[in-house]
């Protein structure tokens, strides 16, 4: 296996950082502005005073400078995107923030992916790491980009004031032009002069009441290139003399190469190399087709002595056994759940099972690597650039700074491209190294590789118990989960606290309902199956079981599920607001009609609040369709409402796909599913009508990529129960209702 990248190989969080603004002049071609966080002891430029702002017309040699906004004499405003865009729209959302604060014209906005450089482009929520995830892109960039843009705007104003000999305060800026009386100039006309202006130490930010772009519908900047075939994804990257590689991976997790016979593979015309790497055997050829045929011809013998041999059903039994015999670790304890359950008239106990899931991005994993004597250049949809950079450095023996990463648009990720061991990127680097860097290498995983070589949403089993009082109100709640840890054994292990992986209990530990006795426990299972965050991470399973259970409790206690939630959420105004809005827009309380059912759920994740109401039609034989989903979201200030709507639609479709029939099944330690004929995602004829309503908010913006996902499954299960009286406790729903209602 790849030598594990331990935390000390990776950059350490800097201490005591503070904001500063810096400018790079572009030799008369404009200027760039960024605001960084600077480490005190490494801040010579700031030594003259806490808020001294270094300014120079020369490129600044500063390790902690993050230029985010470039204004060129060509009147283009380019925003450096430090995040991966995998469809969630940061290449539109981040420029919106800049355009707003600058008072730019939307038509002059461009974007560019930033290089991998954590000293300038770290995710402020990830400490010293550059990366994307947890729906943080907008939230961690919000102030950073506003300050950079506000500083740039002030400098343009100063430049105009000097040119026109008028007070700066009298200059107006609107849609990319500065004006005073009958004089006006574009950003581009002032960019060269502005480059010599000292930026303000404390840029003045707009009052949100004055926003003119934020909150409006702006066309996506990535739409043109993605609708004419010109956008270059990783799989489209071509380098001179490039070879293409496919890899034969172990058939079971934990198996290793015992030996291989390359002769037949090397006989395939076009195949140039067959090399063993730590993760399997790679076949390298002058084209994908030759490499794939070479792999088909390759014979590998596998050492399965260290391999897992589980079956999914057996795992569920073992998880259940573990839950029955081991109390696990306490993640939350309010009141005395044991006593309350003991004393109650009515105790309800339910078991839930949720499977391994594949991310199954439309673009399978891929990476291009080009080695030179003193450098390693990578093209990929990198989501954890810093980890990928350090991993490539460790494999090649280069310094991290010698590893360049060109971040490409990714054909989906849903968490998949943020891997703590950089799996497929490491593979590509290993292959390039194994052929002595002789040629650039493009690694392409086939769909089957993508399905079987790992990373899955972990499988989990849950036991929920509750006590109802005489009025049918829950007075005690216990939630015990058995699940694999995502973070244990990764560079992010530090996020496992007191033995509890935060990802295992997110969405369960934070149960918002006011119930006097609450206990949340977790049993961490060690399996050796590669697991990873999957759109909304722990919230996917925990949001499902907690919301499905509260719904069933309402039914058993004779309460309306919406009303019961309202009562128990009296202290949670943002939950209440989305719940009320979704209920109102969906016509909650009206009879959905014969053969139809309606369900509701609400869940907070990543700082955003989402409620969904699902309508279903169920036939006599249990076949059903999902007719409509009404969604209400509160994600703070709505930067671009149409992008938010798109992310809710996508999150709902992704969740529905999983709930209907997605499951990665282990059979004797191997993944049974291979391609889209056996792992069958949602298709257009199954997509419900979706309405998205956004709660008006003045709170700082939070993410939208994931929060639309968790409420769908519980609302769907509640809707099916509403129509049929049958509750589903195991995902996916599949055929469980078939023949049981007819």
């Amino acid at each position: 296996m790849l030598g594990k990248i331990t935390p000390h190989h990776l950059p350490r969080p800097a201490m005591d950082r503070r904001r500063f603004i810096q400018v790079i002049g572009l030799s008369g071609a404009g200027f760039m502005v960024g605001c960084g966080r600077q480490n005190d002891e490494a801040a010579p430029a700031a030594s003259g005073g806490a808020e001294t702002v270094p300014v120079t017309a020369e490129p600044v040699v500063a390790s902690e400078f993050g230029p985010f906004v470039r204004i060129g004499t060509d009147n283009r405003v380019t925003v450096m995107i430090k995040h991966l865009d995998k469809g969630q729209g940061v290449t539109t959302g981040l420029p919106t923030i800049v355009a707003e604060e600058l008072d730019a014209d939307w038509a002059q906005m461009d974007f560019e992916f930033a290089p991998a450089d954590a000293s300038r482009y770290n995710n402020l929520f990830f400490g010293p790491y550059q990366g994307t995830g947890g729906s943080t892109s907008i939230a961690n960039s919000w102030t950073q980009l506003r300050e950079a843009a506000a500083a740039a705007r002030a400098m343009l104003i100063e430049a105009a004031a000097a040119r026109w000999q008028v007070p700066a305060g009298e200059i107006a800026v609107s849609r990319g032009r500065l004006s005073h009386g009958d004089r006006s100039a574009s950003f581009g006309e002032l960019a060269a002069a502005a480059a010599d202006i000292a930026p303000p130490a404390e840029p003045v930010l707009k009052d949100p009441a004055d926003f003119t772009l934020i909150g409006t519908r702006l066309p996506r900047l990535d739409s043109p290139g993605k609708t004419d075939g010109s956008e270059i994804f990783t799989i489209d990257v071509t380098r001179p003399g490039m070879l293409t590689a496919v890899v034969a991976h172990p058939p079971k997790f934990g198996a290793a190469v015992a030996g291989f016979d390359a002769a037949a593979a090397l006989d395939v015309p076009g195949v140039t190399d067959v090399v063993q790497i730590a993760r399997g055997v790679a076949v390298v050829a002058d084209s994908f087709w030759a490499a794939k045929k070479g792999r088909d011809a390759l014979t590998v013998t596998w050492d399965e002595s260290g391999a897992v041999d589980y079956d999914s059903e057996q795992l569920y039994r073992e998880f259940a056994e573990r839950l029955a015999t081991d109390p696990g670790l306490v993640a939350r304890s309010d009141g005395d759940v044991g006593a309350a359950l003991e004393a109650a008239d009515q105790v309800i106990r339910r078991e839930y099972r949720v499977p391994f899931l594949a991310h199954a991005t439309m673009e399978p994993m891929d990476c291009v690597v080009e080695l030179s004597g003193d450098g390693c250049e990578i093209w990929t949809g990198a989501q954890l650039q810093t980890v990928d950079q350090y991993t490539a450095a460790a494999i090649t023996g280069l310094a991290p700074e010698q590893v360049t990463i060109n971040t490409c648009f990714a054909g989906g990720s849903f968490g998949r491209r943020a891997t703590p061991d950089s799996d497929y990127i490491a593979e590509a680097v290993m292959i390039a190294k194994a052929i002595d860097g002789r040629a650039p290498v493009k690694l392409i995983w086939t769909r089957e590789d993508d399905m079987r070589a790992g990373f899955y949403r972990p499988m989990s089993a849950h036991v929920l118990e509750a006590a109802l009082d005489a009025d049918g109100k829950p007075v005690a709640w216990r939630h015990q989960t058995a699940v694999q840890s995502i973070l244990a054994g990764t560079p992010f292990e530090g996020m496992v606290q007191d033995g509890i992986d935060g990802a295992s209990v997110e969405g369960s530990r934070g149960l918002p309902y006011s119930i006097p006795n609450v206990e949340v426990r977790v049993n961490t299972i060690e399996l050796g199956v590669p697991v990873l965050w999957w759109r909304s991470v722990g919230h996917t399973q925990n949001g499902f079981v907690t919301e499905a259970f509260i719904d069933e409790l309402a039914a058993l206690g004779g309460q309306d599920p919406y009303t019961l939630r309202r009562e128990l959420l009296a202290d949670h105004p943002r939950h209440l607001a989305v719940l009320d809005l979704a209920a109102e827009k969906a016509g909650w309380g009206e009879d959905p009609g014969p053969g139809r059912g309606r369900g509701i759920a609400v869940h907070e994740s990543f700082g955003s609040f989402v409620a969904e109401v699902v309508d279903v039609s169920v036939a006599e034989d249990g076949a059903f369709s999902v007719d409509r989903v009404v969604c209400a979201v509160d994600c703070g200030i709505a930067i671009n409402p149409d992008v938010i709507k798109a992310q809710m639609e996508g999150g709902i479709g992704y969740a529905l796909s999983a709930a209907l029939r997605e499951e990665v099944t282990l059979a004797s330690g191997a993944v049974a599913e291979g391609n889209f004929d056996s792992y069958r995602p949602l298709r257009i004829d199954e997509m419900p009508a979706i309405e998205v309503h956004i709660v008006a908010s003045g709170e700082a913006p939070t993410g939208v990529g994931e929060p639309g996902t968790p409420p769908l499954a519980p609302a769907l299960v509640a809707a099916l129960a509403d129509a049929t009286g049958k509750w589903v406790y195991r995902m996916p729903i599949g055929d469980q209702l078939r023949g049981e209602t007819g």
């Binding site: 995998k86 469809g87 969630q88 729209g89 066309p219 996506r220 990535d222 739409s223 043109p224 290139g225 993605k226 609708t227 004419d228 075939g229 010109s230 956008e231 270059i232 994804f233 799989i235 489209d236 071509t238 015309p269 084209s287 994908f288 087709w289 030759a290 199954a360 991005t361 439309m362 673009e363 399978p364 648009f409 990714a410 054909g411 989906g412 990720s413 392409i444 086939t446 769909r447 149409d642 992008v643 798109a646 639609e649 996508g650 709902i652 479709g653 992704y654 529905l656 796909s657 391609n675 889209f676 004929d677 995602p681 949602l682 298709r683 257009i684 004829d685 997509m687 009508a689 979706i690």
Partner: protein, 153 residues
């Protein structure tokens, strides 16, 4: 085998194995990467092109089976229906990751060329073969209707 391949109105001479799928010939030998690989077994539609105007899955079409027929890819498709589709796709901002969208647009264009006023059921039937993991389906449906309207008007 040496082949004269007609793509987007141009003829390309390529020398490739007879079983190499059209998809990979387009991507690797002709240099047109707009047509995507998603599954390789005709299950996802990411590789959809037009052959003599009809939608086809390029991932399972051996180059030897293409013959003298005209191949059209997302880069070259320019019929009124194609332009209306592209316009509607942009107006509704259908794309998310965008990876499936070349195939979606090629299927949608073929649909409008044979059926200028498709119903929702027609759209389901024509577009069922195109997966979108970003689940942009409601917008795909909306954009097809919008394109149909614009062609009518």
């Amino acid at each position: 085998m040496a082949i004269e391949l007609k793509v987007n109105g141009n003829t390309h001479s390529v020398d490739v194995p007879a079983d190499k799928p059209l998809l990979w010939v387009l991507r690797e030998d002709v240099g047109l990467t707009g047509t995507k690989f998603g599954c390789g077994i005709a299950q996802c539609g990411a590789c959809t092109v037009h052959i003599d105007g009809l939608p086809a899955r390029a991932c399972i079409m051996p180059i030897s089976a293409v013959g003298a027929r005209e191949v059209t890819t997302v880069e070259g498709v320019a019929s009124p229906a194609a332009l209306a589709i592209r316009q509607a796709w942009r107006e509704l901002d259908v794309v998310q990751c965008g990876y499936c969208q070349s195939g979606q647009m090629m299927s949608a264009t073929a649909l409008l060329e044979s059926n200028p006023q498709p119903t929702d059921d027609d759209i389901d039937a024509a577009m069922r073969g195109n997966l979108c993991r970003c689940a942009t389906y409601t917008r795909i449906r909306g954009a097809i209707h919008r394109a149909a309207e614009s062609l009518e008007g």
